[in-house]
């Protein structure tokens, strides 16, 4: 905590200029904001996150990094209203307090096998989030469009067990996209996939996010993945943890697995993040 590093502080300051933190009810449609957020887990209770302040404006792609066990997943679950934060924490989306899963936000779980309905085909899984609000023919069309977006239109009538792991995760992403979320919360969605599938999905996700203009908060422990995807990188540090590093990537909006990763800025960020994560480990 004390050794947050001068580099990080300066970046934070320059960052603040770009994204004014408190007080400024920004112009955008969607602002995700938390102040003095603390999280307790377990019995007896142990504080894993303390005093975390964060504001995410609309359309931003934020990657949150940190050592395993630092509380990334729990933090995202709190963001998604699945787990309550400690008393006194402030957490709001568009000025509304988050108490349960908020409207307009969708969560994508790391464990796709546990979150797809095994008795429904890919298309029917994608339709789940639309059933309360959209009539059958349109629902079907939207589900197929979402599957198309992740390149699975020809597997729409397959059951999850007939699909590979990467395809199942894409079904889960399609299900999230079908409800046209303003905010996508993704918990290491590519963690269990092989390198090839993973890189393809990264490229697709970045493209889709730009098309839909969704705000994304993405958890990962893979530094390359984070730098490649993000507009803004956040490293959680300390015990209990809070924001240790908060930096804009300033990479071109259009990303490519080969050329983006050769940019000096990419390498610089990679270096910076590795240092930040490692220092925390030491």
């Amino acid at each position: 905590m004390k050794n947050a590093g001068i580099g990080a502080e300066t970046i934070l300051a320059s960052d603040r200029a770009k994204n004014p933190m408190p007080g400024n009810r920004s112009d955008g449609e969607l602002t995700f904001r938390c102040r003095a957020l603390s999280i307790d887990v377990g019995h007896p209770q142990r504080r894993i996150i303390e005093g975390l302040n964060l504001e995410v404006p609309e359309h931003q792609f934020v990657c949150i990094l940190g050592e395993s066990g630092v509380g990334k997943t729990t933090l995202l679950r709190v963001f998604g209203g699945l787990t309550p934060p400690a008393p006194g924490s402030q957490l709001e989306l568009n000025g509304r307090r988050v108490i349960g899963p908020p409207q307009g936000a969708v969560f994508v779980f790391q464990n796709y096998t546990a979150s797809l309905l095994p008795w429904r085909t890919a298309r029917r899984n994608v339709e789940l989030g639309l059933e309360a609000s959209v009539a059958a023919p349109e629902r079907r069309a939207r589900a197929l469009a979402a599957l198309d977006l992740v390149g699975l239109h020809d597997r729409a009538e397959d059951y999850p067990w007939q699909l590979s792991g990467g395809m199942q995760q894409r079904v889960q992403i399609a299900r999230a996209l079908a409800v046209e979320p303003k905010l996508l919360l993704m918990d290491e969605p590519f963690g269990a996939l092989d390198a090839m599938t993973r890189e393809n999905l990264q490229t697709e996700l970045r493209k889709i996010q730009r098309q839909l203009g969704a705000t994304v908060i993405f958890i990962t422990h893979d530094v390359d993945e984070a730098v490649f995807l993000a507009d803004r990188l956040i490293v959680l540090k300390g015990k209990p943890a809070s924001v240790g590093l908060d930096v804009m990537t300033d990479l071109p909006a259009e990303r490519d697995q080969v050329t983006t990763k050769e940019l000096p800025r990419f390498l610089e960020l990679r270096h910076l993040i590795y240092q930040a994560v490692r220092r925390e480990g030491a």
Binding site: P101, N111, A114, S115, W119, L128
Partner: protein, 255 residues
């Protein structure tokens, strides 16, 4: 046609045929001195005689209809009770102890009580069969309801499913495989218990037939009844398996 042929388990059938042949051989050679056994051939002959001249067909229909009706009633009751106990924490708290006690009493011992209450009658048979085959269904439904994967419940929350939608779209379908296992166990039990109840509590059906054959010292008839009971159980299970085949596919257990 080809597909139907593929489904026939030829090696399995061959084993049965060989066993039947060996039994025939044994009865004609080493076992020819025993009066109390019947050869394969004699058994099949007895089935034919009982079917054409004896009461077998009527008995078979009786046992089959009792088993199926009792199974349907027990399944419906078990499902509803299991559902209530699965949905209401209070109901579960109040009844759990009673269920544990009742369940651990061998159900067959209730047969004497049923005879005391209803006499040697079809009512006795029905009550016992329903009571016994109620349990697998009740416990299956209850277990299924209480073991919805947490991940799926979170999916329901993420997409703001109402309580009713969560029940019909998540909890019930997730419980279905366990419920189907309950249904199948109930079916097996209801056939077995129908026969037992007929042997002791109701002088009708296949169970009564096998007891009469035994008392009349007619081993071929007794063996014939055994064979018919075996075929009945196998047949009903096969129909059930066929009916749930599509479900197995949807739930990712291709056969």
């Amino acid at each position: 046609m080809n597909k139907a042929m593929q489904r026939v388990n030829l090696p399995g059938l061959a084993v049965i045929a060989i066993c039947a042949g060996l039994w025939e051989l044994y009865c004609r050679t080493l076992g020819s001195g025993f009066d109390s056994i019947a050869s394969t051939y004699a058994t099949i002959l007895a089935v034919k005689d009982l079917l054409l001249q004896g009461p077998l067909l009527e008995q078979l229909l009786h046992t089959t209809s009792v088993a199926i009706w009792a199974w349907l009633i027990a399944s419906a009751l078990g499902f509803v009770i299991g559902l209530c106990l699965g949905l209401s924490r209070t109901a579960w708290t109040y009844t759990m102890a009673s269920i544990e006690v009742l369940r651990s009493i061998p159900s067959i011992s209730f047969l004497s009580i049923a005879v005391l209450l209803f006499g040697f009658s079809a009512k006795t048979e029905m009550v016992i069969v329903v009571y016994v085959s109620l349990w697998p269904m009740l416990l299956g439904t209850l277990g299924g309801m209480r073991s919805t994967p947490g991940g799926l419940l979170e999916v329901a929350r993420i997409f703001h499913l109402s309580a009713i939608s969560t029940f019909f779209k998540i909890i019930l379908p997730a419980a279905l495989p366990v419920i189907v296992v309950g249904l199948r166990l109930s079916l097996t039990l209801s056939i077995a218990l129908a026969v037992v109840a007929e042997m002791i509590g109701n002088p009708e059906g296949l169970g009564f037939g096998i007891v009469s054959a035994q008392q009349a010292m007619r081993p071929a008839d007794a063996f014939a009844y055994l064979l018919v009971i075996g075929i009945l159980g196998w047949g009903l299970n096969a129909i059930f398996a066929m009916a749930t085949h599509r479900l197995d596919f949807a739930y990712g257990r291709p056969s």
